[in-house]
Symmetry: C2
Subunit: 514 residues, 2 copies
């Protein structure tokens, strides 16, 4: 058995089942090993950002890592932006990067580069393999490192001779570190603040946005009257009918500060203390107004669900039922397409148990509020701000959950970064509906430019924020990659297109002319 085969067998034994791949020459033994071993699904992406974004989406839904298979430094570099998002999502991901044979590294061949320096900013764990005989154990360690609670990016750099060289066989799975224990003082402090009165909010993030933690939080809110907030960009939030309603912390710092201003205390569960997405002149980094006491019930690395359960116990809430959202989707909208009608159309037609990947930027903002009583769904956001996450992440989510409908609710500017994901959706016949907001602009940047004081941009600034001249024909782009596509001009057409899409198998694409 060669090193490559020992790697694939080790990964399978550790429960890793999917490899999002864009291999090259230095990964050929690993490609061959995928065939030599049954059980590892190989999914081709036509650009590495598709592979890494898909691994993130897969991890958010499967709660376990997939492999990525990438080609040396430049191939890995193409995947960094979505690994940045995965890191911010705390998703477990295991990157496999082929490298030149150990004895060829010194030759400074054209594709040689410092892969470790590229990997460090997005990887919590990195190893450069030095021997085919250690590769199986290195793999087991990489997987355990990625699975460390709640999830991390680990990167294994594998010279090609370590892939084709001999081994003793696969390595046994290693136990991954679970959540760090929550200390009694954290529970007691949160309980004290909650007993203090109504001017308290729970800010939920990370794993506290899954069902058991949310239900515990809902019970606490129902009894104490505290507010339930969530991170602005959650990796995965369970919501809709049958779940407690959670308010989202606004994106713009002034609005976020205004949201938090009435509070006396903010209790963090799975979230960090909120900061501004960007620094603006005369705006603080921290979104927490002076005088608001911040208490960490559970850091992202701690067991937030357990901490919330313990808090329920500490507060002696007994079997208090939380207030749950009813099933009450909004009426189907009519008339012109705009962020309000688009959000309403999606909320009104969303099938039960859907997954919504929201990278719709300015067009997407109204959807969240209007969908709180839509059927139960998982909501995934752009966690790290590196645009181009939506289509790949939806692709990976669909592979993790083949029985669920995935909606990629997608801004046009962002979609162009990793548009190649549509082809993978077509090849794998994934149940993804892409809902593309064609407003022919980087609208958020127009807003941000105005915020920076430029209210009348000049010719060049306007041009750098416009996706017009020429207009992108998204129907042509989607069809060119094998995905059925339609264009809609108003809300009635949109509702019909969504309903049709949700009744069909496989990917399809709806271009909305906003």
């Amino acid at each position: 058995m060669n090193g490559a085969e020992s790697l694939i067998r080790t990964a399978l034994q550790a429960g890793v089942e999917v490899c999002f791949a864009n291999p090259g020459t230095t990964e050929m033994p690993l490609v061959a090993a995928l065939d030599a071993v049954d059980g590892m699904r190989a999914v081709l992406g036509l650009f590495e950002g598709v592979c890494t974004g898909a691994a993130d989406g897969y991890a958010r839904m499967a709660d376990k890592p997939a492999l990525t298979l990438l080609h040396l430094g430049p191939g890995f570099a193409n995947g960094i932006a979505n690994l940045h998002n995965a890191r911010r999502a705390r998703s477990p991901v295991v990157n496999l990067i082929g490298d030149h044979a150990t004895w060829h590294a010194g030759a400074d061949a054209p594709l040689t580069s410092d892969i470790v320096s590229l990997a460090r900013p997005v990887s919590a764990w990195i190893r450069s393999v030095s021997d085919s005989r250690s590769l199986a154990f290195d793999t087991a360690q990489a997987i355990a490192a990625a699975k460390k609670y709640p999830g991390r990016v680990s990167t294994l750099i594998i010279p090609s001779d370590c892939q084709w060289g001999p081994t003793e066989g696969p390595a046994a799975p290693l136990a991954a570190e679970g959540p760090a224990p929550v200390e009694a003082a954290q529970i007691e402090r949160a309980a004290r603040l909650l007993r203090d009165g109504e001017k308290t909010a729970l800010l939920l993030g990370g794993r506290a946005l899954r069902e058991p933690a949310l239900i515990a939080a809902g019970r606490i809110a129902a009894t104490t009257g505290c507010r339930l907030l969530c991170e602005t960009f959650p990796a995965r939030l369970e919501r809709g009918a049958g779940m407690p309603v959670v308010e989202r912390l606004p994106y713009f710092p002034e609005q976020a500060i205004e949201t938090l201003a009435p509070l006396r205390s903010l209790i963090l569960a799975g979230a960090t203390s909120p900061v501004a997405f960007f620094g603006y002149p005369n705006t603080p980094s921290s979104l927490v107004p002076d005088g608001v006491e911040v208490a960490a019930l559970a850091a992202p690395e701690q067991d937030a669900a357990g901490a919330l359960e313990a808090l329920v116990h500490e507060l002696k809430l007994g079997r208090t039922e939380p207030s749950m959202a009813p099933l009450s989707p909004p009426p189907k909208p009519s008339g012109a397409l705009n962020p309000i009608t688009v959000g309403a159309a999606l909320a009104a037609t969303l099938p039960a148990n859907a997954i919504v990947m929201d990278e719709a930027a300015t067009t997407g903002f109204p959807f969240f509020a209007v969908s709180s009583s839509a059927p139960r769904h998982s909501y995934l956001a752009l966690t790290g701000g590196a645009i181009g996450q939506g289509l790949p992440c939806a692709t990976g989510a669909a592979i993790a959950c083949p029985e669920r409908r995935v909606v990629a609710f997608q801004a046009d500017g962002s979609a162009m970064y990793t548009v190649q994901a549509l082809w993978t959706q077509a090849r794998e016949s994934l149940n993804v509906t892409t809902l593309l907001c064609n407003n022919r602009s980087y609208r958020i940047l127009q807003v941000e430019l105005a915020r920076s004081g430029v209210t009348e941009p000049g010719r060049k600034a306007k041009s750098l924020m416009s996706l017009a001249s020429p207009d992108l024909d998204w129907v042509a782009l989607a069809r060119g990659m094998g995905v059925a596509a339609v264009r809609v001009q108003n809300a009635d057409e949109l509702v019909a297109a969504l309903e049709r899409s949700f009744s069909q198998q496989g990917p399809n694409f709806i271009e909305m002319m906003l």
Copy 2:
């Protein structure tokens, strides 16, 4: 005047005229400064790899740097692959990366990452700006660093408060370091080897592939009988009618070693000693057979043209005329499309003074030989092996040379990486003809897999090397981005399409069904 405006004015004073931009919120003051100052052309790319690849292509043709304008770590990361190619091409490029305001860096906002660690592998010079008042001088230094002979990548990381903060005004241009002097011993050793007999070759690379150096090399070859070789993947080679014929060192190591085996000595001018592109079992890193003496007439950082002129003088060649390629393009081919007929069709129709960016991989190999007597043209290759360079590089070359026709001779797999470049070509009405080789596969990887011993690949390996199911519809993709496109099925249709394309202004796209 704010820092951003001082930067743009400094760049203009240093002769930098083009900015390939994909900005975000942290670059808004620079966007505004582009409008506040006349003379800096702003070109939008819909993905950062388009911007960096275009800057590389621009630099190869203009022999001076363009700016790129990129958004924090993830935006920069999307541009790394083509900066890797630019580094290998020794192209001057100046990256501007916006970053969080200095006082916001510690907040660990979602887009925060270690930009320096990402930049180091591709940048010869990096600076993190700390004060708006130093930004103009930092810019002058970044530009001088990029211009250091023959060209380098420099990276300036600019917190947004250093863009919007006050300055004293622009900084004066700084002189860039020229080529390192060639030592007399290098000339004398090369002369001695050349006098020795015919079993000598000049391996030309880098700046030795431009007209004056090539003509000097041609004179030396005409008199001494030495062979003229060039690097396998030249950044820019001047060739065709009226230039000396230069043989290209083959890509596969066995063939390269066979090419060099008859030699007694190999003289390097602007090139480094050749190494295998990849390490294979039982194949050496160095392509130079034992017993061949390697002598560096001029390293890439030295004045290769001057060294070759000095060698002409040393050899007392006087006014010997080199043997020049005649104008004798091949006949127009007919029949089926294959690498031979495709290469012949392009060589037969190529207009004078064209620029050919060759990322055609397996389909492209025959073009080089058949085009040695085509009209004079500049030939640009994929220097660093990071695929996805062709369309962006062609875009930048067309901006540098608006009066010349650019041909992006392009493999399908590689084209998908940075397909967004077509939109920039349409927006800027660039004279680029994309000649797309649709063989529905990563053909080179099929070859490489066979080389690794897998002659009968399994289902998964086949699938990872196939771009079929679904087939990409390249005409739809090009038209979707605003570029006129046709599909051709045979060589006759191809010749007609090329002739039509070369008679028109603006970009167009020819999909060849191979």
